[in-house]
């Protein structure tokens, strides 16, 4: 069962391994820039946030952001490329594997890229800046990242499945993904939102992701409600993505 998915994932990992170093350098550049510009450039203007220095406060969000946007990018572009450009999806589809193998393999590949890139950014931030976290907090944090990467990998796969033009995928990134990530608390706590909006904002899965992961890493508090929101979202996203891909392939 799902041997085909495993083969596709293995192929993606082989290809990733060939360009791993340049991929990691590229993925570290942008969060590190944010980190230096906001964390140090604006240091004098920003007081402690929720009791911790701003550089420490923003680190978990930057890592999470890197992981989930890498998962989205990889899934969207890879699916689009394999479907529209080199049409490898069609080569897969005339072998005994099923469409479920294909879509699951691709989702897991996006997820893996997100996770790897998140770890790369975390390592660099930890090494370069001396921000330290309690290792005991890591497990809870990783649970959030894993589920978040899964949700974004599914979202990317849906875009790569339904969108034929690369511009459209670019627009989704700019109009949906980036705002969603930025407004969900990469750079500020949800407590910045007016009291009345807070509950609603918290219910958005991305807020659950960024707030939950930050709390897990900084304070070691594992918020069951937030992880539940995220887990349910991931499950729904996965089911919907598989169904959408299946339908698209049956056209």
């Amino acid at each position: 069962m799902f041997k085909g998915a495993f083969s596709i994932w293995k192929r993606d990992m082989l290809v990733l391994r060939r360009s791993l170093f340049s991929e990691l350098v590229a993925v570290v550049a942008s969060p590190l820039t944010f980190y230096l510009a906001f964390g140090f450039g604006l240091k004098g203007y920003i007081a402690n946030v929720e009791g911790v220095p701003y550089t420490v406060f923003m680190a978990p969000g930057l890592i999470t952001m890197t992981a989930v946007s890498a998962a989205f990018d990889e899934s969207a572009w890879s699916m689009w490329f394999h479907r529209k450009v080199q049409r490898t999806i069609e080569a897969y589809r005339v072998t005994p594997i099923t469409v479920y193998d294909i879509v699951i393999g691709k989702i897991i590949s996006g997820f893996t890229q997100g996770a790897l890139k998140g770890v790369a950014v975390a390592t660099v931030i930890f090494l370069l800046t001396g921000v330290r976290f309690d290792p005991a907090h890591l497990a809870g944090y990783l649970a959030f990242i894993a589920l978040g990467s899964m949700v974004f990998s599914c979202a990317g796969t849906v875009c790569g499945t339904l969108m034929d033009k690369p511009e459209t995928i670019g627009k989704v990134q700019a109009v949906v993904i980036m705002p969603l990530i930025f407004l969900s608390g990469v750079f500020f706590p949800v407590s910045s939102y007016p009291e009345a909006m807070r509950a609603a904002v918290m219910a958005i899965p991305t807020t659950a992701l960024f707030e939950g992961s930050r709390r897990a890493l900084l304070a070691g508090s594992f918020d069951g409600g937030l992880i539940a929101i995220l887990a349910v979202t991931a499950l729904i996203a996965f089911t919907v993505t598989v169904a959408i891909f299946n339908r698209k392939m049956a056209e």
Binding site: S7, V15, Q86, R87, T88, A91, R93, V94, T95, P96
Partner: protein
């Protein structure tokens, strides 16, 4: 159940266009079968239905007795596919492309390795096994796609215009491989090249507008044309002027030109004299009757020339 392929009133529509129109066909095991037709005839659509990529709107199709809609997985186990457009993975080397195919067919590591090396040897790509396909010529890429389709030893091989766009040497190479496979599987191919269909295939079906026009061996098809009166004409000079004259004659059924050489078919023997009257004898180098080719059959039936 000796049929490798069995199509029963297969129909596929794209909006208002009926790309495949109630198409029925039986292909016996072990044949090399050619589907001929002009661009847009529906050849690729038929291959896509038979290889489970596309759902028919009506009708049924079986590959080796398995229904393409109900038993897709069983069908896909038995088929090899060379699509019209190469779909190699350009991020994998030649060898890795074949290994990937073996994995997707659930082949074991040892068998994969042996089979892949054997095929690379067969298609003459052993020396380039670790290179990426986008560094290959068109002919080499095509050979790699053919090799990939053979990795799992399919029982039915689909080749959608396997040699279109290749230079003559690569064309010949691809056809040699196809010919060498003859005994081990059923081969279903589409092509624009009449000469090749003629030379290679046991059976030829010509289609247009989604419908089957004629079915038979190359010899039988030419027999059908025996009543058609084909001639070759060559002029010493003024070929352009003669082309216009010939094209204007109502009894000239088809006309093809290569340099100063014309091939034409007449509506009947009795029109030879009016033909000669129309062109005169001043510039004629030669006129001679000619064996009809598949190309003539094709033009006769579809009213169109076959272009790449």
């Amino acid at each position: 159940m000796a049929s490798a392929l069995s199509l029963n009133r297969l129909t596929k529509r794209f909006g208002s266009l009926t790309a495949v129109d109630s198409f029925s066909l039986e292909v016996e095991r072990g044949t090399i079968f050619a589907l001929l037709g002009p661009n847009g005839a529906g050849k690729t659509t038929i291959i896509r239905i038979l290889t489970t990529l596309l759902r028919p709107d009506a009708g049924t199709a079986q590959v080796e007795g398995f229904d393409v809609q109900q038993q897709g997985k069983e069908v896909r186990r038995l088929i090899g596919v060379v699509p019209q457009e190469n779909n190699l993975d350009r991020y994998l080397t030649a060898r890795e492309n074949l290994v990937m195919q073996a994995r997707l067919h659930g082949m074991g590591a040892a068998e994969t390795s042996r089979r892949v090396d054997e095929l690379l040897e067969l298609v003459g790509l052993s020396g380039r096994r670790n290179d990426f396909p986008d560094t290959f010529s068109g002919g080499m890429q095509r050979r790699l796609v053919v090799a990939r389709a053979l990795v799992h030893r399919p029982r039915v091989l689909f080749l959608d215009e396997p040699t279109t766009g290749l230079d003559p040497q690569s064309r010949r190479a691809v056809w040699e491989y196809v010919e060498s496979l003859k005994d081990s599987m059923t081969i279903f191919l589409t092509t624009h090249y009449m000469d090749e269909a003629d030379a290679l295939c046991d059976r030829i079906v010509i289609m247009d507008h989604g419908r089957l026009l004629v079915d038979g061996s190359a010899a039988r098809l030419k027999e059908r044309m025996a009543h058609a009166h084909c001639y070759e004409m060559q002029f010493r000079a003024n070929a352009d002027r003669y082309e216009a004259i010939l094209a204007g004659l109502p009894f000239v059924r088809s006309l093809q030109r290569t340099g100063d050489l014309f091939r034409l078919s007449l509506a009947g023997e009795e029109f030879l004299k009016p033909l000669m009257d129309a062109v005169g004898t001043d510039d004629i180098r030669k006129v001679c009757p000619r064996e009809p080719t598949l190309e003539d059959v094709f033009i006769e039936l579809t009213g169109r020339e076959v272009r790449e």
